[in-house]
């Protein structure tokens, strides 16, 4: 009996070692921005189905992802901001995968239709509390946002510079809930990724520019940020990582990228 157990344990050990070896060879390791969870997840799944190579994703944050690729702990770093000059000097290079455009939405009955970024910052940090200060109705502004940890929230707060300052009235757990809530409250303002916005709410212009694929891609629309793939310059990356990079920057991946709610570059 005991012998059997030992044998079994040995077999399990062997299998797991073999599996580990196999996966070491055949995976692409990505590490970084939590906001890119959805798009990388979708791309990784499609890639695995197509080529049979698994893609791992470690949600640590843009800074940590850049550091990880610098130290060679992953194949591709993921950053939801452009590389800083200092980071480029260290021999890293960034390829923009997509742009994340965030639409600012209000109720269709709200007369306000254009805000600039500073005003949005003031609204969300509680400095401006009433729509009449923005030539709207005399009513308190109801701030609707997402839960802590959400990529859209992180994107919105870092672009408008309102991290830890937002005085939310409601923190909802999906873009759909945000849109429904804004549609049902005439004094609400909210944000959602452009791809998920429906026409039951009014999308505001920011600095006079309406969000669209076009205005997000050429950078005229202000509330947007790039999703950057970070790699080491002049360093050889593994064959499977190269294959993955080629795949996700090809036109074939565009549909998947759009499906994840962001605007593809190509």
């Amino acid at each position: 009996m005991k012998k059997n157990v030992n044998l079994l344990a040995l077999a399990v050990l062997l299998v797991s070692v073999l599996a580990a070896c196999g996966s070491n060879k055949e995976t692409v390791a990505t590490d970084g921005s939590t906001s890119m969870n959805k798009v990388i997840g979708a791309l990784g799944e499609a890639f695995e189905n197509k080529v049979g190579i698994a893609v791992t994703y470690n949600a640590t944050g843009s800074g940590a992802g850049i550091q990880a690729v610098q130290e060679g702990r992953c194949d591709i770093g993921l950053a939801s901001r452009n590389l800083k000059d200092k980071e480029k000097e260290k021999g890293l290079e960034g390829t923009i995968l997509a742009y994340d455009g965030i639409a600012i939405i209000v109720n269709p009955n709200n007369p306000v239709s254009d805000l600039d970024v500073e005003t949005i910052t003031k609204i969300y940090s509680g400095e401006i509390k009433n729509w009449k200060d923005l030539s709207g109705n005399d009513a308190e502004i109801v701030l609707v946002g997402r839960e802590a940890g959400s990529g859209t929230r992180d994107g919105f707060e870092s672009i408008t510079n309102t991290k830890d300052k937002c005085k939310y009235r409601q923190e909802l757990t999906s873009s759909g809930d945000v849109i429904t809530t804004v549609a049902s409250n005439p004094n609400a303002i909210g944000y959602a990724s452009l791809a998920s916005v429906k026409n039951i709410v009014k999308v505001l212009k920011v600095n006079g520019v309406a969000p669209s694929e076009e205005s997000i891609k050429n950078g005229v629309y202000a509330i947007q940020r790039p999703f950057v793939l970070v790699t080491k310059k002049n360093a050889t990356i593994s064959k499977s990582a190269k294959q993955f990079l080629d795949y996700i920057t090809s036109e074939a991946a565009n549909e998947i990228i759009s499906g994840a709610g962001v605007v593809p570059v190509n």
Binding site: I141, V142, A148, D164, R169, L172, N187
Partner: protein, 290 residues
């Protein structure tokens, strides 16, 4: 003969295994919750965790105080019971003692239907109808609030309270009531002075069951309460223990303090529910001994 016994033994064995599956699940969940809930409490400190007034896991200086969640859960549940128990209790008395057969059948099937509605539907209706109504009636900027959650929870616990109370009232021996009526008491006097006191333990059990349902509900509450970690106040947006776990679980990265703290919240909720179950058992046992 021998064959028969073997068969019996096998059947017993199968029943035992099936029974153990349930016990195993409970044990597994308990142990898992304790193991994954303790580390964050250790790191944050029990007092800071339970009595901290601010929750901000993604702030520059993360804060992990769950007092707002605990108080909201307690107030929300208390409010739901305060609203739901009188309605449920009188409905039960009416149905089991006063109503004629036809009305009883109609109302009972309505109650059963109410029990079968999924909580997400309660949430959706609450979000679209109740939240808007509260905003307009009370003239507040936004209707997603503790009050909305209390009303939704009160409706959700009604079927539990009504059904268990009816069972308790039905178990009162008819002789008690007949004796009361024979002594000249009116039917109403009989219901409230004889039937209800005789069934009071069962009714208490119904209330505790309602409390358990209310404190454990997440989905419906998440959709109407606004989910901001404020200290509870009737017209403010609030977050319950359940919704605190549910709303941040999806995005918290595994192994982070945020994720671990969510498990700790779940552990606190679990302890609350254990307490409620213990109370329930206490009532039921006393009921049996009587």
């Amino acid at each position: 003969m021998k064959k028969n016994r073997l068969f019996e033994n096998i059947v017993h064995g199968i029943f035992l295994i099936l029974g153990l599956i349930t016990v195993g699940c409970v044990l597994l969940i308990t142990i898992y919750l304790i193991i994954s809930g303790i580390p964050a409490i250790k790191e944050i400190g029990l007092l800071n965790f339970l009595f901290g007034k601010e929750w901000g896991p993604t702030s520059a200086e993360p804060k992990y105080g769950i007092l707002p969640f605990i108080l909201t859960s307690v107030y929300g549940t208390a409010g739901a019971v305060l609203l739901g128990v009188p309605i449920g209790f009188f409905t039960a008395v009416y149905l089991s003692k006063v109503a004629n057969k036809k009305i009883r059948m109609i109302v009972e099937s309505a109650v059963n239907l109410l029990a079968g509605i999924p909580s997400v539907v309660y949430g959706l209706v609450g979000m679209l109808v109740l939240v808007t109504a509260i905003r307009e009636i009370f003239n507040v900027p936004d209707g997603a609030s503790l009050l909305a959650a209390i009303i939704v929870l009160a409706v959700m616990i009604l079927p539990n309270i009504i059904k268990v109370s009816i069972t308790a009232l039905a178990a009162v021996p008819k002789e008690y009531e007949d004796a009361s009526l024979a002594l000249g008491a009116t039917p109403t006097e009989t219901f409230f002075k004889v039937s209800v006191p005789a069934a009071k333990r069962g009714i208490a059990a119904a209330v505790v069951l309602g409390v358990g349902r209310a404190i454990g509900e997440a989905m419906a509450v998440m959709m109407v309460a606004g989910n901001v970690a404020n200290m509870p106040s009737l017209f403010e947006s609030v977050r319950f223990l359940t919704t605190a776990v549910a709303s941040e679980m999806a995005y918290s990265s595994p192994g982070s303090l945020q994720r671990n703290a969510l498990f700790s919240i779940a552990l606190v909720l679990f302890l609350f529910i254990m307490l409620i179950n213990a109370t329930l058992n206490f009532f039921l046992k006393r009921n049996k001994e009587k």
